[in-house]
């Protein structure tokens, strides 16, 4: 099976920003322009996460989403501050194919996952996880890595699968934006814990990091942000490199 190469946009409307450790935001462009650029480079999907909506307790801003969706003929996942079925329905109507849930399910009401899966189908419900490592375990964080939840990542991933989630996006608070490689140990454990696809984010600093992650953790997809935003590599560079190293990716 092809490993999916996904472009991740962290958005503080109306800009795509690139946080380091989920802090210190730098503007890198606008969502619709970057999405089109990565689509043209051959990205398999684009993910759009409004990283401040949950933190500031406001609703997700819809304008940029529709504009971004219009540029794409590939799947488009959207998340950030999703609290209700109505929020999700609105996102699907704006052109989202999948919706990411984090804070509300972790901190308040995990049954949102069950309801969403029954209405929208499990393939459309993705759980976004912000993992932070403690001495001997990983904990789920929310709101850009600011809020603890006392939920153990490896237990939570099994719970969300039982509740009907169709996919997991695993981000690492410790590794995000540092470009020093992925948390391979955690990635491997999460991939092996569930039967649903797992997409890994946070840490790609060079092409070798992506290869190492795929070979060792075997995720269904890899989400890339900094490498692309800072024009260190294009999606095409990544795919060409992986193919040369006998890792299957789509055209």
């Amino acid at each position: 099976m092809n490993t999916r190469i996904i472009a991740k946009l962290d958005v503080k409307p109306p800009y795509v920003v690139k946080p380091v450790h989920f802090e210190g935001l730098r503007r890198v462009g606008t969502p619709s322009v970057l999405a089109k650029k990565y689509y043209d480079q051959g990205a398999d999907e684009v993910v759009y996460i409004d990283i401040v909506s949950s933190l500031y307790q406001r609703n997700i801003i819809f304008d940029e989403i529709e504009k971004t969706a219009n540029e794409l003929f590939i799947p488009f996942g959207v998340g950030g501050g999703v609290k209700t079925i109505e929020d999700m329905s609105k996102l699907f109507h704006q052109g989202a194919d999948k919706v990411f849930i984090n804070t509300h399910a972790v901190q308040k009401d995990p049954t949102l996952i069950n309801r969403a899966a029954e209405i929208f189908g499990n393939q459309a419900v993705v759980i976004n996880i912000e993992a932070k490592k403690w001495k001997d375990h990983w904990e789920c964080y929310t709101d850009c890595g600011r809020m603890q939840s006392n939920k153990d990542v490896l237990e939570w991933v099994k719970e969300v699968e039982r509740r009907g989630a169709g996919e997991i996006l695993l981000q690492s608070v410790d590794h995000d934006g540092r470009q020093r490689g992925f948390d391979i140990e955690l990635s491997k454990k999460v991939v092996e814990s569930v039967n649903i696809p797992v997409v890994i984010a946070s840490g790609a600093g060079k092409l070798e990091d992506i290869k190492k992650l795929i070979e060792e953790a075997k995720p269904s997809g890899v989400a890339i942000a900094s490498l692309l935003h800072y024009n260190k590599n294009t999606v095409k560079d990544i795919k060409d490199y992986l193919r040369e190293n006998n890792i299957e990716v789509s055209k």
């Binding site: 194919d97 929208f120 189908g121 499990n122 393939q123 649903i196 055209k251």
Partner: protein
């Protein structure tokens, strides 16, 4: 012939928008169909589908689409769940009667790998079909946990972790694709182009 493609709009979850956009990129005219009376304004139909088999059939019933779809003679293209509900019966959240336009069942994918099956995958056209003209071996985007079991109307197969499943079916004017052409780059737009250009049978 004006060749307008009608997109059947039912339920709360449909991503009509991206299908409309892709058909228009393929050079087609579209009409979003909110009630069955609009069927006579279009030449062909697209039946999208997001959600579960059970919900989709319920929504079609609520909007009184079931009988008009069963009686429809125009070319129709079911996409993803829209292909699955062409079948006689589905087993998502209990057994539910489908439209019964193709002798088939929609059952959970039985595969030794992650489900849902998500991502670009290659199609193997096993029976020549106008819908796939020039598209043999192309990659399309899949996103599904259920598959259609059928033996007599198979157009294309796709392999997922050594499991071969039906990725396209056709009988008379009824076409179905398990993947999302509207999410499959140029190859998807070309498929819509073929659908726009194909002649009505019978």
């Amino acid at each position: 012939m004006s060749n307008t493609i009608g997109i059947v709009n039912y339920g709360i979850a449909g991503n009509i928008h991206s299908i409309k956009k892709a058909i228009e990129a393929a050079g087609g005219k579209t009409l979003v169909i909110n009630k069955p009376e609009q069927f006579n304004k279009v030449d062909k139909l697209v039946l999208p589908g997001v959600g579960s088999f059970k919900d989709a059939m319920q929504e079609l019933e609520n909007d009184e689409f079931i009988e008009p779809l069963k009686n429809n003679k125009k070319p129709i293209l079911g996409i993803c769940l829209g292909m699955q509900i062409l079948a006689t019966v589905g087993f998502e959240y209990g057994a539910t009667k489908g439209l019964g336009l193709i002798e088939a069942e929609a059952r959970p994918m039985l595969v030794d790998s992650k489900v849902p099956h998500v991502g670009f995958n290659t199609i193997d056209v096993v029976n020549d079909n106008e819908l796939f003209y020039g598209l043999e071996g192309e990659e399309y985007y899949f996103m599904h946990s259920y598959e259609v079991i059928n033996y007599t109307n198979i157009v294309a197969l796709t392999k997922y972790s050594n499991h071969s499943f039906v990725s396209s079916i056709q009988r008379d004017n009824i076409y179905g694709v398990q993947f999302h052409p509207e999410k499959s780059r140029e190859a998807g737009i070309k498929l819509f182009k073929n659908f726009i250009n194909l002649k009505r049978r019978g």
